[in-house]
Symmetry: C2
Amino acid sequence: VTPQDAGRVRSVHIVGTGLIGTSIGLAVSAAGVPVTLADREPSRLARAAALGAGRPAVEAGAADVVVVAVPPRSVAQEVGRHMRSDLARTVTHVASVQAELLLEIESQEVNLDRFVGGHPIAGREQSGPDAAAADLFRDRAWVVCATAASRPETVADVEDLARLCLARPVRMSPADHDELLARLSHVPQLVASALAAAVADLPADLVALAGSGLRDTTRLADSDVQLWTEIISANPTAVARALDDVAGSLGSLVTALETGDRGTIERVVDGVLTRGRAGRAKLPGKHGQRLTPWATVSVVVPDRPGALAELLAAVAGHEVNLEDLRVEHAPGQPEGAAELAVAPDAQARLVAALRADGWSVSIGADAAR
Amino acid sequence: VTPQDAGRVRSVHIVGTGLIGTSIGLAVSAAGVPVTLADREPSRLARAAALGAGRPAVEAGAADVVVVAVPPRSVAQEVGRHMRSDLARTVTHVASVQAELLLEIESQEVNLDRFVGGHPIAGREQSGPDAAAADLFRDRAWVVCATAASRPETVADVEDLARLCLARPVRMSPADHDELLARLSHVPQLVASALAAAVADLPADLVALAGSGLRDTTRLADSDVQLWTEIISANPTAVARALDDVAGSLGSLVTALETGDRGTIERVVDGVLTRGRAGRAKLPGKHGQRLTPWATVSVVVPDRPGALAELLAAVAGHEVNLEDLRVEHAPGQPEGAAELAVAPDAQARLVAALRADGWSVSIGADAAR
């Protein structure tokens, strides 16, 4: 943050009070900057205002920054409307696609110097103002997509908005953003759905035998169909290219498996699995580091109120810092298993201490799959 | 459990003291049935014995059930050897592939009436005796693959072994088992690896922007390359067929996206996402039910020892039963977010109570993606 950029945004108008718009309103309000809110649905607007996201505005007044936080399909129209009104110094949006929306905005023949698209990389599976949180964007990346037409002051406004929301502004071109998000978000969504679709015709009692491997891999398949159809439809070229890479890997696996030749199969399978580990090693773990080699300790947790709290109190009592935690319930199983991630040199001590306390403990980790 | 089946297995010999073999030894020993152990690696054998999984046996003696718990590639040979020795009433294995191993065993021209393959559907990412746990199989399915050649007594022995390990025996033909596991386990493994492979060439600082969506979807890509190459190589036909379904879905998405026609894209994307939700609805949630609509409450957890324990103690203090828990760390973020799953009618009360205690709470859930 350079001194001339900090505190430059003194008023914000938010169009659309769903999860993202309301969360921005809560964060900006918490930073002491006045916020006005608009939504075509009066009940949603009232709810966002009641939560403290800002003051409802019947008509848009002057604002340093207008944030358009509506579904992708309606973004360009709302951005164009606010740029024509001339009441805002800067207009931005927060959609997870950029290049196609920019074209749509350009086609309205508005002057683009006061516009910069943005994308806070954060979200929840739930939607609506009640799912909002002031800290939704804390320490997350907020991609800022300046173009050749953007004035430096406009870019600075959007970066200041991101900082008001405690996010990290990251500059990227609209095309680079869309290429990246295709791989980090849009393709994983489609792959998770295709994988879950492959068990849709199986009897539920057979699918019930699945462990946490299939469950984790398909979690994204719970997402909202309409929103994701809009997102992917607005980024067709980059998604097609990235998805073709994955489909190509799977196709080469199918071809190899169909040869029935053990040597061929082993070579191709080993290749994909090895490359997968290389990709996985680039994913962030806790604190933005690479996935750290925490040692894990598995403990059986009885299914009654407070049992997990007792366990974690015991861990804290033994002065071991819990780095991560995962709770696993097996199908038909009354108890759960808590997988505690701790520093490797604390593992043996923790196992011994918890066993002495009477917990059922095993070294190692992860759930059935 | 019928009375004549319970307690029929009075001695067990386990070949291979890795994660699964040692866990079986621990469970059977805990049930009071004597266990002998064998492993070609003396140090691993000694470790399993020291953990209480059984008594090392230099030579295989007579045993009601011999359990072959070695990697898939070596199973048939070990099973054949023990069936020829005539010291065991019943011989079984615990590999995650069945039909091809059965063919390999048949090719040794041993009499198959004393053999039934089995597969306890449980595991961990770690391997070796130190990752073993007596309750690894508790309430899990243990698939028992009887064939036309199997004597009822042999099937009963393997089912009794499963029950000694607190698992639920589930009968299935070897071919049905392999078809099912291809979809529930082998294909998810390959898809997760192919998806992770698709980010292997991106700069790590860009991959670091990914949220938990990509992380969950690719978690399986951390698995052991050699073991999984063996498993998939031993189930090529079923994996090829199931994988072709997924690759076909992805291929039709690529084709639709490449048309650039919005109507076509929306129709095909909507179709895959909708079908994915249908498949996902069949996956087990807690207690073997379908995924239950727990209400979720998100709480910021400071990064210091005991903070999570304090939170869970507070939850228990407000007499709310925690149904599930997930802890999320964002890249670069010093604090974590705990996502608490509770009964829907407890949500509002818990939010109010935790806020009154000073926690930073939001309704709704799930991590950034």
